[in-house]
C-alpha cells in the first residue's frame, strides 16, 4: 500500500525538554492509524507538526508526496484537521461556518450534505454555543471534511463524550473511512483504538514504544489470554495455585474479583480446572486487550495515569 505520510527521525524540543524524541513511522493510504499514549506523551505535538502548525526541530516529513517544509500550502489543501477541543466562531451558524471554511480551499463540499451525513441538518441555523458536546464533536469532524481531504487528522475526537455519543462518533469515523480517506487519530482510550484503528503506535515520553497492526500487537503479547472471575469462596490456596500459572491481579473496586493473564492454552485449561473447584459466580475467558499491551510496555495503567494527572 502506498504511504501517504512518512515521518523520519522527528525531534521537537522545547528548551531542554524533548517533547518528541526521534520517532519514525509511516501511514498507508486508506487506513486508520492511531497514536496512543497518555497526556504529554507527544501525540498532539507530533500531529501538529505533520499538520504544519508547529515547526520540527529535526527530522523529515513527507505528506502526500510533499515535503512539509516546502509544500505546506499544497498539503493544507489536501488534509482535514480536527483540533483537540477547538471551538468555532460564536456568531456564525453551522452552515455559515462550513461554507466560510469551504471558501478557504480550492475545492469544497456542499455544507448541507455534510450536515446530513452526521444528522445535524436541522441544526444548520444554530450557533455552536447552542448544541451539545456530542453534536459539537460531530460538527468538528465534518468541518474537517469540507475540502474533501485525502487525510483526516482527528485529535482525541471522543474525549469528554458519554458512551453513547462515543459509539455514534465511531460510526461516523467508519463512514469517513469507507469513503476511502486515510485517518490519523490520537486517543488515550485503548478500547477505542482497538475498535477503530488498523494500526497503532504507542507513545510514551516522546518515543514510540511499539507499532504495528492492532490485532497482532495483542497476539504478540507474552500473555495473550485473560481469565477474569468473581468467587466468594476464593482462598489463598487457590490463589497460590493460580500464581504458578500466570499473573494474578485483584480487580480494583470489586470484591473477590480477579484477573489472570496467561501465556498458553494449556495454562488456561489448568487455571480453569482449579477455578471450577471454588464454583465462581462469574467467569470470563478471553483474549488480552490493547490495554494489556500498554501495561506490559510501560508498566503502568493508562487510566490510572489519567486520574493522577
Amino acid at each position: 500500500m502506498p504511504k501517504v505520510i512518512d515521518v523520519q527521525n522527528l525531534v521537537k524540543k522545547y528548551g531542554k525538554l524533548n517533547a518528541v524524541n526521534d520517532i519514525s513511522f509511516s501511514v498507508n493510504r486508506g487506513e486508520v492509524f492511531g497514536l496512543l499514549g497518555e497526556n504529554g506523551a507527544g501525540k498532539t505535538t507530533t500531529l501538529e507538526i505533520i499538520e504544519g502548525l508547529r515547526k520540527a526541530t529535526r527530522g523529515k516529513i513527507i505528506v502526500l508526496g510533499h515535503d512539509i517544509k516546502s509544500g505546506t500550502n499544497k498539503i493544507k489543501e489536501k488534509i482535514g484537521v480536527e483540533l483537540q477541543s477547538s471551538a468555532y466562531y460564536r456568531f456564525l451558524n453551522l452552515k455559515e461556518i462550513l461554507s466560510l471554511f469551504g471558501s478557504f480551499y480550492q475545492k469544497s463540499l456542499d455544507p448541507t450534505s455534510l450536515l446530513k451525513m452526521v444528522d445535524l441538518e436541522d441544526k444548520a441555523k444554530s450557533y455552536v454555543g447552542n448544541i451539545s458536546g456530542g453534536q459539537k464533536q460531530r460538527f468538528s469532524i465534518i468541518a474537517s471534511l469540507i475540502n474533501d481531504p485525502d487525510i483526516v487528522f482527528l485529535d482525541e475526537p471522543t474525549t469528554g463524550l458519554d458512551p453513547l455519543a462515543r459509539r455514534h462518533l465511531w460510526e461516523i469515523i467508519n463512514k469517513v473511512k469507507s469513503q476511502g480517506k486515510t485517518i490519523v487519530l490520537t486517543t488515550h482510550y485503548m478500547e477505542e483504538a482497538e475498535v477503530l484503528c488498523d494500526r497503532v503506535a504507542i507513545m510514551d515520553k516522546g518515543k514510540i514504544l511499539t507499532m504495528g497492526e492492532t490485532h497482532s500487537l495483542i497476539e504478540h503479547l507474552k500473555k495473550p489470554y485473560t481469565i477474569s472471575f468473581k468467587a466468594e469462596r476464593v482462598n489463598e490456596k487457590i490463589l497460590t495455585d493460580l500464581r504458578k500459572l500466570g499473573d494474578v491481579k485483584k480487580e480494583s473496586g470489586k470484591t473477590n474479583a480477579y484477573e489472570i493473564n496467561l501465556q498458553t492454552q494449556k495454562e488456561v485449561n489448568g487455571a480453569l480446572e482449579s477455578l471450577f473447584k471454588i464454583k465462581p459466580e462469574c467467569l470470563d475467558v478471553g483474549r488480552a486487550t490493547l490495554e494489556d499491551v500498554f501495561i506490559e510496555l510501560t508498566g503502568k495503567n493508562i487510566e490510572e495515569e489519567e486520574n493522577n494527572a
Partner: protein, 360 residues
C-alpha cells in the same frame, strides 16, 4: 477573502458586546452632552424682565434685548417673584423697567434697575454691557452728538460653535478608539483561546488575508458608527459640522487603522480574552480623559500637557476638530498627521513582530 470579509461583518453585527462599544457607548455620550449643551445657541444664561412702561424707549430696549439673543428672557409681573427666583439661581439677573420710564413728561423715571446676583457674574456682565451700550447710543441720539471715537468689531471665527460641537468631535474619536482597541484585542484573544486562529492556520488561507478581512470589516463598521454619531449630533442636538464630510470620514478611518493596530498589539501581549479586555480598558479610559475628548487639554498643567498631547488619540482629535469645526485643510498643521502616522508605524512594527495566530 470577500467571503471572510462578509462573515466578519455578519459576526460584528451579531455581537452585542461589540455593538455596545461601537454604537451605544458613544451615542450615550452624544445624548448626554447634547441634552446639556446641544440645543442652546450660544445663549449665556437667562434673566427676568419686568417692564412696567409703555414708552417707546422702554419697548425699544426690550425689543433690542430680545433680538440680541445673548440671554434668554423670562417676563415677570411682580419684581418680588423675579427676585426670589434670582435667589434660587433660576435666573442670573433681574431687570426692572419702572412705570413711566422713558415717557416725555417731567419727573418720569430715567433709570432702569438691574438686580444682580454674585453667583452669575457672566449674566450680569452681559446685561450691564448691553444696557450701557443701548443707553449711550440713545443719549447720543437725543443730544444729536456723533461719537468721535469708537471701535470696529471683527470676529476671527465667524461660525457659531458651541461646547457640544467640541465634544461631538471628541465622541467620534472616543467611539473609534473604544470599538477598535477593545474590539480587536478581545476578539483576537478569544479566537486564540478558542483555538479558532489555530483552526484557521490548518487551512491554506493566508494570514494576511485573514487579518485584512478583519480590519476591513471593522473599518466598515467604523464608517457606519461615525455616520450615526454625526447624524444624531447634527439633527438631534444642533451640532455644527463645517468641514468636508468626506475628509472627516477619511480621517476617522485613519484613526480606526491606528486603534486596530493598538488592538492587535494588546492581543499579542495578553494570554486570555479577559486579560485583553482589562489591558484595553486600562489604555482607553485614561486616554479618554487625557487626550481631550471632553475638555481642551491645553488647560492641563504644562508638564502633563507636554506629555499627553502626544497620546495617539490627542493628535487625531486635533485633526478631527480642525476638519469638522474649522474646515481647515488637514495639512494645515501637519505635525498632527506626523504623530498619527508615527504611532501607526510603531504599532505596525510591534504587531508584526509580536502578533501570532498560533504558538510555535
Amino acid at each position: 477573502m470577500l467571503k471572510l470579509f462578509f462573515a466578519d461583518l455578519k459576526m460584528l453585527a451579531r455581537n452585542r458586546q461589540s455593538l455596545f462599544w461601537s454604537l451605544m457607548f458613544p451615542l450615550m455620550f452624544t445624548a448626554i452632552f447634547g441634552l446639556f449643551f446641544g440645543r442652546s445657541n450660544n445663549i449665556g444664561g437667562s434673566i427676568g424682565l419686568i417692564n412696567k412702561s409703555n414708552s417707546e424707549v422702554a419697548q425699544n430696549y426690550q425689543k433690542a434685548l430680545t433680538e440680541a439673543k445673548i440671554l434668554e428672557i423670562k417676563n415677570y409681573d411682580d419684581v418680588n417673584i423675579a427676585k426670589k427666583n434670582l435667589g434660587k439661581n433660576q435666573i442670573g439677573a433681574v431687570i426692572e423697567i419702572p412705570e413711566g420710564f422713558g415717557e416725555k413728561k417731567p419727573n418720569a423715571p430715567t433709570q432702569i434697575k438691574i438686580y444682580e446676583d454674585v453667583a452669575s457674574t457672566q449674566v450680569t456682565a452681559l446685561v450691564t454691557g448691553f444696557s450701557e451700550k443701548f443707553f449711550t447710543a440713545l443719549n447720543y441720539q437725543i443730544q444729536n452728538v456723533k461719537p468721535n471715537f469708537g471701535y470696529a468689531e471683527e470676529k476671527t471665527n465667524t461660525k457659531t460653535l458651541s461646547y457640544f460641537d467640541f465634544v461631538l468631535a471628541g465622541v467620534l474619536g472616543l467611539a473609534l478608539m473604544n470599538s477598535s482597541i477593545i474590539g480587536i484585542s478581545v476578539s483576537m484573544s478569544k479566537y486564540r483561546e478558542d483555538k479558532i486562529l489555530k483552526r484557521i492556520m490548518t487551512t491554506p488561507v493566508k494570514t494576511w488575508k485573514f487579518v485584512l478581512a478583519e480590519v476591513l470589516s471593522r473599518l466598515t463598521i467604523n464608517l457606519v458608527q461615525v455616520s450615526i454619531i454625526l447624524t444624531v449630533g447634527v439633527f438631534g442636538f444642533n451640532a455644527h459640522i463645517y468641514g468636508n464630510l468626506f475628509i472627516l470620514l477619511l480621517m476617522a478611518l485613519l484613526g480606526g487603522v491606528l486603534f486596530q493596530l493598538i488592538g492587535f498589539v494588546v492581543a499579542s501581549f495578553s494570554k486570555t480574552a479577559d486579560a485583553a479586555e482589562g489591558m484595553a480598558t486600562a489604555i482607553t479610559i485614561p486616554m479618554m480623559f487625557l487626550a481631550g475628548v471632553f475638555f481642551p487639554i491645553d488647560a492641563l498643567p504644562k508638564w502633563l500637557y507636554s506629555f499627553v498631547q502626544y497620546l495617539p488619540l490627542a493628535p487625531l482629535l486635533r485633526i478631527l476638530r480642525g476638519v469638522a469645526l474649522e474646515a481647515k485643510p488637514i495639512w494645515d498643521n501637519p505635525i498632527n498627521l506626523y504623530i498619527v502616522f508615527g504611532w501607526i508605524i510603531i504599532m505596525l512594527i510591534l504587531a508584526i513582530s509580536r502578533f501570532r495566530l498560533t504558538e510555535e
